[in-house]
């Protein structure tokens, strides 16, 4: 028996009817066509399905879609501005922090929430911050460099204050 579901995804309200056993990642990919979010392990180990739920990074394979009723979701499709990549995305491109790309949407969304909480992290904090995202192309060094560069790029310009 399908349940009505209202989701605001990347600022846009969607009214759906979904089977209650479906996970958030399945609805995002299959019903809304937002295939930037990847399903990896399905167990919460890999972080490939990371999205922001009310600004908080979660594994969307471990959230029932009906548990997201009425909430705000950000996927990788909602991060870039119309004319430019988000500074985190640009930093990943600039630092070669992407190989096959399967982990990248989840990593970038986790980094977005991490830098929102901690805008000037140390390298060790970055490594802990992305501990829930696996990259099997073995690219963590470049990912860490990209996150540190993104943190700098996102800092408000010095000397603009009153």
């Amino acid at each position: 028996m399908r349940k009505p579901l209202r989701l605001t995804v990347n600022g846009q309200l969607h009214q759906l009817a979904v089977n209650p056993y479906r996970t958030l990642v399945e609805v995002l990919r299959e019903d809304l066509g937002l295939t930037g979010t990847k399903q990896g392990c399905g167990e919460g180990d890999c972080g490939a399905c990371t999205v922001l739920l009310d600004g908080v990074a979660v594994n969307s394979c471990l959230v029932l879609a009906v548990q997201a009723e009425g909430r705000q979701i950000t996927t990788i499709e909602g991060l870039a501005r119309p004319d430019a990549l988000h500074p985190i995305q640009q930093a990943f491109v600039d630092h070669g922090a992407i190989q096959c790309g399967f982990c990248t949407p989840g990593v970038i969304l986790r980094v977005k929430s991490f830098l929102d909480e901690n805008p000037a992290p140390s390298e060790a904090e970055v490594r802990q911050g992305i501990a829930g995202n696996l990259c099997r192309c073995t690219g963590y060094q470049k990912i860490v460099e990209a996150v540190l560069a993104a943190a700098t790029a996102l800092q408000p310009a010095q000397g603009d204050g009153p």
Binding site: M1, K3, N19, P20, Y21, T23, G42, E43, G44, D45, G47, T50, V56, A57, V58, N59, C61, L62, V63, L64, V66, Q67, E69, R110, F114, Q128, G129, A131, G132, N133
Partner: protein
């Protein structure tokens, strides 16, 4: 992987949730954060017909001060919230430490303290510190509410005293005496997204800042079918001054109270070494905290 189909009930109140649980009994599973249940369903380990979600019962997600001075932690409080709350750190530092180390950031943002205690895995990281800090669990069912001490809650792997129609509503952390300190340490193969090989939670209450030990609680995780207290180590400590040689003797005594098994993560012998190492280190940290007056 075949899709398992189930229906979801999303009650708005605890009373409705209890009624739904009473109605569907053995065919139902409760879900809070979902980090254990949805994984188990995905792997085919659990096949519920009904899933009762607690996500709309907002009171379960709150931390508040109780009238008796205890800190009331709703069972739906996430690991992230538990680890970040200054009142939890003041009351039960060991519990906050366990919450901060569990899983990954994404898992901690969903996983709840109630889920961790009710799944009752021998490796559940919040159980030893909750036991060491004298936590009381409030269970609410069709027949009303009752309190169970956390140390009496688990009865075997995945087994608790919770009845089929009961929901874990609150974890109550009592105000502990002055000069109390606690600490939690765990051994894991990796630094994140891991299952604990051995954990130790200790709580020490001193007579005074420079005085002898009045009370000692030592709880061990992943070295038995349920979290285990170590009466032998506690007996070594009580009444004595907390000097390093005494703490080492207590740690050594704790090994005898552990009952680890060999499994894919570690051998029983290694786990026993880890009991001694972790208890010794945790005792030193807890005693230091007790002298400084923090919990």
């Amino acid at each position: 992987m075949a899709i398992w189909r189930f229906d979801v009930i999303q009650p708005d109140s605890l009373e409705e949730a209890v009624a739904a649980l009473a109605r569907h009994g053995q065919d139902a599973q409760l879900i809070a954060g979902g980090t254990d249940l949805l994984r188990d369903i995905h792997l085919g380990l659990k096949r519920p017909r009904w899933v009762i979600s607690l996500d709309r019962i907002q009171a379960l997600g709150l931390i508040s001060e109780g009238p008796d001075g205890s800190l009331v932690v709703g069972s739906g409080v996430t690991m992230t919230a538990l680890g970040a709350d200054g009142r939890v750190r003041g009351r039960a530092t060991a519990l906050a430490e366990a919450a901060r180390g569990m899983g990954s950031p994404q898992v901690r943002n969903r996983a709840t303290v109630g889920g961790n205690l009710c799944n009752a895995r021998p490796c559940a990281d919040t159980a030893p510190p909750a036991i060491a800090c004298d936590a009381l669990l409030l269970l609410t069912g069709a027949a009303g509410s009752r309190e169970v001490s956390c140390g009496q809650y688990m009865t075997g792997p995945g087994q608790t005293v919770r009845k089929a129609d009961e929901i874990l509503q609150e974890i109550r952390l009592p105000r502990l005496p002055l000069h109390t300190g606690s600490a939690f340490l765990s051994a894991t193969n990796r630094k994140a997204v891991e299952i604990t090989i051995t954990s130790a939670a200790v709580r020490i209450t001193l007579e005074s800042a420079g005085g002898p030990i009045r009370e000692a609680m030592i709880a061990l995780g992943s070295v038995g079918p349920i979290p285990l207290r170590s009466p032998a180590a506690e007996a070594v400590l009580v009444g004595q001054l907390p000097v390093d040689t005494l703490l080492a003797r207590a740690a050594s005594a704790a090994v005898g109270d552990s009952r680890p098994i060999d499994d894919m993560r570690a051998g029983a012998a290694y786990r026993k070494w880890m009991v001694e190492t972790l208890v010794a280190r945790a005792l030193q940290i807890a005693c230091q905290r007790a002298r400084e007056g923090s919990t």
